[in-house]
């Protein structure tokens, strides 16, 4: 069961690496900020942070300093990715709305404060060992970082709803409408993963590795995310045909 759970996480990392690299390539051609932000977020959160963090847990059995260094690098990379995700949600979905700019600034500040708190309190090490947490910093950090994918997922679902309405009068391509939903699912799954992680920390104090059911839940979410991300960026011909041929939403009376 544990091996299956790890396989799900590895699948998610690979999907993030491939799609993130391709979005980076897209940015190279378009030179548009949203592509850059999304590529940074996908690569940092979905691949680099996981890879460095896992290395900290598996490869470094030596000193606490080495473990702390790997964990710090992994967590910092993850924070960069989440800040990119926050900036993406603001610039892409709400570029003209002042409250969205305020929310983006607030979330960025919370992510930075949480990281500083985790470092100063030493609770940072709780991500790489099995000792229960002894303060609020880890759940606070998880909540601050989890807010980034939560915001983007909610925006994707909201946009999807609006595009479904536009599709009724031929003002939206069914493939693009579905892609927005798939990105919402792909980003929403990690957001749910954060929720599971916070609940687990609050109840047990330790990371998800302490319980197979918790690891399996997050692995299932990661696998769902990987499938959604792959379908969004590499829709197979049969899937595209199904989307184009299925009846669209009925016009409103």
């Amino acid at each position: 069961m544990t091996a299956l759970s790890v396989a799900g996480l590895v699948l998610s990392m690979l999907a993030s690496l491939v799609v993130g690299s391709r979005v980076l390539g897209l940015w190279w051609r378009t030179r548009k900020l949203p592509e850059l932000l999304l590529a940074v977020a996908t690569l940092c959160v979905g691949f680099i942070a996981y890879a460095v963090g896992t290395a900290g847990k598996i490869l470094v059995e030596g000193t606490q300093d080495q473990r702390a260094l790997f964990t710090l690098i992994g967590l910092s990379v993850e924070c960069i990715g989440h800040v990119a995700l926050v900036a993406f949600s603001w610039r892409v979905f709400r570029p003209r709305e002042a409250w969205a700019g305020g929310l983006a600034g607030t979330l960025t500040a919370l992510i930075a404060v949480a990281l500083a708190g985790e470092i100063v309190s030493g609770e940072l090490l709780r991500y790489s060992d099995m000792i229960p947490i002894s303060g609020p910093w880890v759940p606070f950090g998880l909540a601050a970082r989890g807010a980034a994918p939560t915001w983007m997922a909610l925006e994707c679902f909201h946009l999807h709803h609006k595009l479904r309405l536009r599709q009724r009068i031929g003002l939206a391509d069914p493939l693009v409408v579905n892609r927005v939903l798939l990105w919402g699912v792909a980003i929403g799954c990690p957001a749910l993963g954060f929720a599971v992680s916070i609940a687990h920390r609050l109840v047990y104090g330790t990371g998800l590795r302490a319980h197979v059911w918790a690891l399996s839940t997050v692995s299932l979410l990661a696998t769902t995310s990987a499938v959604a991300l792959s379908l969004a960026f590499f829709p197979p011909k049969v899937y595209r045909r199904w989307l184009e041929e299925r009846p669209g939403p009925a016009p409103r009376a």
Binding site: K162, R164, L171, L175, R179, V180, P235, K237
Partner: protein
């Protein structure tokens, strides 16, 4: 013509050519746009043409506007010519971004 100016143009045209007040004209257009997931501040002339062609006539008829269909035809012709004479760069929207977020190979296979 920008998104917001398209909305303003249509509302002003309806106010001038029907018995609707400014508030009624703006409310009518807002409701029609909301029903199809469009935002008054970002709606483009091309989108508005589709809205006028397919939805505005019925909304005006419901509000007892005389010769709603003829009015819509006239508005479409005018909007078409106004939009064609404008050369402003179009704003990159969330829809445009998600349209681009696809592998080149699958995109080529689609076109």
């Amino acid at each position: 013509m920008t998104g917001s100016s398209t909305f303003e143009w249509l509302c002003a045209a309806l106010e001038a050519r029907t018995s609707m007040s400014k508030l009624e004209a703006r409310g009518t257009v807002r409701l029609v746009l909301r029903d199809v997931g469009l935002d008054p501040s970002t709606v483009t002339p091309r989108q508005m043409l589709v809205v006028i062609e397919r939805l505005l006539g019925a909304a005006l008829a419901k509000r007892k506007v005389d010769q709603a269909a003829e009015l819509c035809q006239a508005l479409m012709r005018e909007l078409d010519s106004v939009a064609a004479s404008q050369t402003e760069a179009r704003e990159d929207t969330a829809y445009d971004l998600f349209d681009r977020l696809e592998s080149d190979s699958t995109r080529r296979g689609r076109k």
